[in-house]
């Protein structure tokens, strides 16, 4: 009988002390709009990096600067995401190629309160060029031949970060020397390698 009374007493105390039914996680029902999600809350390391750089510097952007690249708002672009509209391509952070903005959209407004995309079509500077020395690196990063076995980043991004960030260790190994032989042979002008009587040839 005493146990029953004690149990009833405990139940009464519990009922007084726990009057509210709760959700599984605290804060689970305070919702944040997509436009107000704080990216750096989960990505503090990336936030720190972005505050250190000369380009894409955090201080040049208001709010969560991640959006400038990862939620593209360049008018007319296929990755455009106006928040609230539907995009079939991504939800919150597109894995973008650097040349998405720095290619055909050069000079465009970003759609954020930032400076416009610089007016240089980097895609054309590589692909329409016959003089750019880094074309092999660019095309290798892009896997342009389709025969490459490792590809870590989208598009040409591997090449971009190799020079424009500190994320890459680059080793260029040039083992060849240029051999030059100039032979005064009184060669006839107009023949290959013949300059003022000198027959000049190269080899590696």
């Amino acid at each position: 009988m005493r146990m029953a009374i004690l149990t009833l007493g405990l139940l009464a105390v519990v009922s007084l002390a726990m009057p509210r039914a709760v959700a599984k996680f605290t804060g689970q029902h305070t919702f944040v709009n997509g436009s107000a999600v704080n990216c750096e809350q989960c990505h503090p390391d990336i936030a720190t990096e972005l505050k250190l750089g000369e380009a894409h510097n955090w201080s040049l952007s208001s709010g969560s600067a991640c959006r400038v690249c990862h939620i593209v708002r360049i008018s007319g672009s296929e990755l455009y995401n106006a928040y609230g509209g539907n995009t079939s391509g991504y939800h919150a952070a597109a894995l973008v190629e650097c040349t998405y903005c720095h290619g055909n959209y050069n000079g465009s407004a970003t759609g954020y309160s930032t400076p416009p995309v610089p007016a240089a079509n980097v895609t054309a500077e590589f692909e329409d060029s016959s003089t750019e020395a880094h074309r092999p690196l660019y095309f290798r990063a892009r896997n342009a031949s389709g025969a490459d076995t490792t590809d870590y980043l989208l598009g040409a991004n591997d090449a971009c970060i190799a020079c424009h960030t500190h994320a890459a260790n680059v080793s260029v190994q040039v083992g060849a020397f240029v051999g030059v032989v100039a032979n005064f042979s009184d060669c006839p002008p107009g023949t290959p390698g013949c300059y003022a009587g000198w027959n000049i040839s190269y080899w590696k």
Binding site: T30, F31, N33, N86, G89, Y90, S145, A168, S171
Partner: protein, 226 residues
């Protein structure tokens, strides 16, 4: 005989001082329709949270009291789907008063449609598609982990992809991302290969690119983790 008289006297007194038979609990017999049940009477903390957010905000609902229903008793009827609960005029076998819904139930294929609760409209973004039909969304691993898409995960705390949703769209999650300390290693070797690719070429050795003059560059990439 005296005892019988005493009992009768007590009973008569009892009738005088206790004219009403009582139920076990006060108010137990005043019934409220399901459509009028006040959710926040029990769920006060959730009510407070819903007043604070900038989405699903209590004050923005036209449904009056207990907008909990907008999510937990979805009225957005679609043929063949079982959450619809119109109160009394239909039957739902799957739940009674509060379905544990997935966020993408509304924010998926029903995007842009009316909730049928106070004339509210679901924002026009099919988030299910934004993840599942995407090749560029960076948070796809988080989404699929929350969904337990592989079927092999041992902890699954909320329905569907809700863990991923609340991770960004509420303050209920502590997220720790362990960034790897690693670098991209690029080694470019002049004349390290013979069949270099250049625009217009159809064949090439793996990782072999011509500079357009006389060098074929073997460019290897790997990850360096110190």
């Amino acid at each position: 005989m005296r005892n019988i008289l005493l009992v009768l006297g007590l009973l008569a007194t009892a009738f005088l001082v206790m004219p009403q038979a009582m139920a076990k609990f006060t108010g137990q017999h005043t019934f409220v329709n399901g459509s009028n049940v006040n959710c926040e009477r029990c769920h006060t903390t959730i009510s407070d949270e819903l007043h604070a957010g900038d989405a699903h905000n209590w004050s923005q609902s036209a449904i009056g009291t207990s907008p909990c229903r907008v999510c937990h008793i979805p009225n957005n009827q679609r043929s063949g789907e079982d959450y619809y609960n119109p109160y009394q005029t239909g039957v739902t076998a799957s739940y009674h008063a509060a379905a544990m819904v997935e966020c993408t139930y509304c924010h998926g294929v029903r995007n842009g449609t009316s909730t049928d609760n106070g004339g509210l409209t679901i924002p026009a973004a099919n988030i299910t598609s934004e993840f599942e039909d995407s090749t560029t969304e960076a948070h796809r691993p988080l989404y699929y982990r929350a969904k337990n898409a592989s079927g092999v995960d041992t902890t699954d705390l909320l329905k569907g992809t809700n863990e991923a949703c609340i991770a960004c769209h509420t303050a209920a999650a502590n997220v720790t991302i362990i960034e790897p300390t690693q670098y991209l290693n690029i080694t470019a070797t002049a004349d390290g290969c013979t069949n270099g690719w250049e625009p217009g070429a159809t064949t090439a050795d793996p990782n072999c690119y011509s500079d357009g003059y006389s060098f074929n560059w073997l460019i290897n990439m790997s990850v360096y983790a110190p």
